[in-house]
């Protein structure tokens, strides 16, 4: 078969690969500054306010599977994020019997269409972990370098919360937080009794309007479905759409990038090649600057696949560091039954699309047997029933007395069973720890020498193992969960996870916070990017997704991706002005 590679005659100022948090921010900032931008997205167009895409405010019976998970949407029929852990025709492999689950959402806005909107700044210590505990590495930048950008992100995008003056959980410029729900008030009170702080959550949801393009939250609890009012942050709604309005952005959807093209004489990037996923035609885009924002793993895949005589190890990889230091947040969970919440009065407590309170890391790791912290997220309440509702009643309704005060055998059927579902509704809570793992060189992704995806692009092969640090942290999470549950007067569900399953520690990749594969640093021998997210080896290549992280804190990475992408964009603008780029 002969391929005709279609070359676009225009030379763009910038070609950005990926339209998630990092790519959306770069597109918006660079287009606003006047750059002609080609924005390539491997998935389709998406707009949560277009009826073609709306799932918000639909009822469970509008899905024949009542919102259950499908191969097309891992988080269920109503979730905004297309794709998931497995994509048809786009495999990834594993090495040495290790585990890593890779969540991919190929669509405009990428994974910002799914995330929990938890928008936490990294703290001063999070940029210098090696100085604090001797493990891993320090970032080449400090909190003070990033703070002005966090401030700008807060103002541009909006985040609610309440100032708490915590040393390593800096306050944002907050919109008013929503009041806690009933179970959250109980958690707050219980936390106080066991010295665990429970403070207002920090989510990028507009409790007040901040501009004319976006409405404010109407409390349907469904941010994960995408917001018709654009009242929550997703890159597609909040960054890509405004960037298109500048007239400087050419958006190419279903454009799956194969590699970054380079001039073998100058050693500079000249653009990218991509396959149109709908037509299966081959294209190139020429650009003076290439910005990768395809996600930590996808960007490293792109660099590693961009091999040439001049760059035999792949692009920006003379250090051999690309793909290494892959790390995800740790995660472990527990749920509990709250007998005092049986037979609750009904009212609408949907609230915002997430928790109204959370627990930031509160202890000193120097006094513990693991080096890094975690935060706790809380769930519960009278949510909308969907697939899975009522499951496992046979394990519950035999444990609590009926309305007549008498115990009965678990399970059953008929009118009394039907009534049990009513009585138990809204009487459960859940909590999840999300912690920091220590980045390690031997957790990595690399190109599988034998496997390609359906487009013929070599795929990633993962090698990832949790260390004792993370396992001990998960153990601490489980102890804390039980402490809180007991302080609440709740009854933990199931048996406590123990060493047999690493204390419930989720498989790497499951928390979808993976970062670190194209890390920044001052030494080109041990890092791929400089402190402005610019490749040491190729000055017109930048990486503005989580790949640049030196360490993923006990915070969600999105706010830092946004801040660093903005910072890199400012640097690009400055360097172009100075004619260095």
């Amino acid at each position: 078969m002969s391929f005709q590679i279609k070359e676009q005659p225009t030379v763009f100022d910038v070609c950005i690969v990926g339209s998630g948090a990092g790519g959306g921010m770069a597109a918006y900032q660079l287009a606003k500054a006047g750059a002609k931008v080609a924005l390539l997205e491997a998935g389709g167009y998406y707009d949560p306010a277009d009826p073609k895409y709306i799932t918000q405010l639909k009822w469970p019976w509008e899905s024949p599977r009542r919102g259950a998970s499908t191969p097309f949407r891992s988080f269920g029929d109503f979730d905004a994020a297309w794709g998931g852990w497995d994509l048809d025709g786009e495999p990834y492999t594993h090495k040495g019997g290790t585990e890593f689950d890779w969540f991919r959402s190929r669509m405009l806005g990428g994974r910002t269409n799914h995330w929990g909107r938890i928008s936490l700044r990294f703290g001063p210590n999070d940029f210098k972990r090696k100085s604090v505990d001797g493990l891993g590495d320090d970032w080449p930048i400090s909190y003070d370098d990033v703070k002005p950008y966090y401030d700008q992100v807060d103002k541009l995008i909006g985040v609610f919360g309440e100032a708490a003056n915590l040393p390593n959980d800096p306050d944002s410029i907050f919109l008013p937080p929503p009041k806690p729900r009933l179970h959250e008030l109980m958690i707050k009170k219980a936390g106080k009794s066991v010295n665990i702080p429970v403070i207002p959550a920090r989510l990028s949801i507009l409790t007040k309007p901040i501009n004319e393009d976006r409405g404010s939250c109407f409390y349907c609890h469904q941010c994960n479905r995408g917001c018709q009012a654009y009242a929550d942050f997703s890159s597609s709604s909040v960054l890509v759409k405004p960037s298109l309005k500048t007239g400087n952005v050419t958006l190419l959807t279903n454009a799956m990038v194969r590699e970054v093209l380079t001039d073998q004489t100058t050693g500079l990037a000249t653009g990218v090649s991509y396959v149109d996923k709908e037509k299966l035609t081959e294209h190139t885009i020429k650009a003076k600057i290439v910005v990768l924002a395809a996600s930590a793993c996808e960007s490293s895949r792109l660099l590693l696949n961009s091999k040439s005589p001049r760059f035999p190890n792949g692009l920006a990889n003379s250090s051999g560091i690309v793909g290494k230091y892959l790390h995800d947040s740790t995660g472990a969970s527990r749920s509990a039954f709250m007998p005092m919440l049986m037979d609750r009065k009904r009212y609408n407590e949907d609230g915002v699309g997430g928790m109204h309170v959370y627990t930031p890391w509160w202890l000193d790791n120097k006094k513990l047997d693991f080096p890094r912290g975690y935060h706790i997220e809380y769930g519960g309440g009278m949510g909308m029933p969907g697939y899975g509702f009522g499951w496992g009643m046979e394990n519950t309704n035999g444990k609590y007395a009926g309305p007549d005060g008498k115990m009965k055998t678990g399970g059953g059927y008929g009118a009394s069973l039907k009534n049990d579902y009513r009585r138990f509704y809204g009487a459960s809570i859940g909590m999840s720890g999300r912690g920091e793992a220590v980045a390690r060189e031997d957790n990595y992704c690399e190109i599988d020498p034998n496997v390609v995806d359906k487009f013929g692009i070599p795929v990633l092969r993962f090698h990832y193992k949790w260390s004792d640090y993370e396992v001990k942290q998960a153990k601490h999470m489980q102890d804390t969960f039980e402490e809180i549950i007991h302080a609440l007067g709740g009854i933990p569900n199931g048996s406590k996870p123990g060493p047999e399953n690493d204390y419930g520690l989720a498989a790497p990749g499951r928390i979808i916070h993976e970062v670190g594969t194209v890390r920044m640093g001052n030494d080109p021998k041990s890092s791929a990017l400089n402190k402005y997210s610019q490749a040491h080896d190729v000055k017109n290549v930048f990486v503005v997704d989580g790949g640049s992280f030196v360490s993923q804190a006990d915070k969600n990475p999105t706010w830092t991706i946004l801040a660093l992408s903005w910072r890199a964009s400012d640097y690009i603008i400055d360097q172009v002005k100075q004619k260095n780029l």
Partner: protein, 210 residues
């Protein structure tokens, strides 16, 4: 996206060059096939084309026999009968929900088919007729033996496992239906203003916002 913007995206990805080479022709043929396939399946709001095609395919297939569906109907109404507050499982569409789910998640096909068969065999053994031909008293005799996992006889374990599955699907199907949502008293999924827990509820639990 504004029409102008989408056209811009379109012209760049298609380039508008009518080159006649095999790959180009192939891709045009694909476009045509796609357009034709899309015409056959209506894509509801909030669905991708792949999802619409997949769901339509599942809807066009039948898994349960009419007899199996009748048994599912009887069983689901034993689990969630109509009462003074709301209708029954079958009135809310539980059997149709299960029919869809076993096609959507085929791992449930054998547990359901085999479980229904187990029930009919047990019923044959005891009463010389299949489950749906039994009187409701006879039906409940069997159900009583498989509805309580902690006290059921060991030889009933397969029946218990089936009934647990049946109970789970019945509860999920019923309470995620229009009838069931009303019954359970879920009051959200509508634009509103959240101003905290109602005062009488705060008082009931001895909590406050101060």
């Amino acid at each position: 996206m504004k029409r102008r913007e989408s056209l811009k995206a379109l012209t760049l990805s298609s380039f508008g060059i009518a080159a006649v080479n095999p790959q180009e022709l192939l891709s045009e043929q694909r476009d045509l096939q796609k357009a034709m396939a899309a015409e056959e399946v209506e894509i509801p709001g909030g669905r991708t084309k792949e999802e619409a095609v997949y769901d339509a395919k599942l809807m066009s297939e039948t898994f349960f026999t009419p007899a199996e569906l009748t048994t599912l109907t009887v069983l689901s109404d034993i689990i969630i009968p109509a009462d003074e507050k709301s209708g029954s499982a079958s009135q809310s569409g539980v059997p149709q929900f299960i029919e869809f789910m076993v096609k959507d998640q085929p791992r449930w096909q054998t547990p359901f088919r085999g479980g229904l068969r187990w029930l009919d065999l047990e019923s044959q053994k005891r009463f010389g007729k299949i489950f749906t031909k039994c009187t409701s008293k006879e039906q409940l005799q069997i159900v009583d033996d498989i509805a309580y996992p902690s006290t059921a006889k060991p030889e009933m374990s397969q029946g218990v496992a089936f009934f647990n599955t049946m109970r789970n699907f019945t509860a999920t199907g019923f309470f995620s239906s229009e009838i069931g949502i009303k019954d359970i008293g879920y009051m959200g999924n509508t634009p509103n203003q959240w101003d905290g827990v109602p005062a009488d509820v705060l008082k009931q639990y001895g909590l406050s916002y101060d």
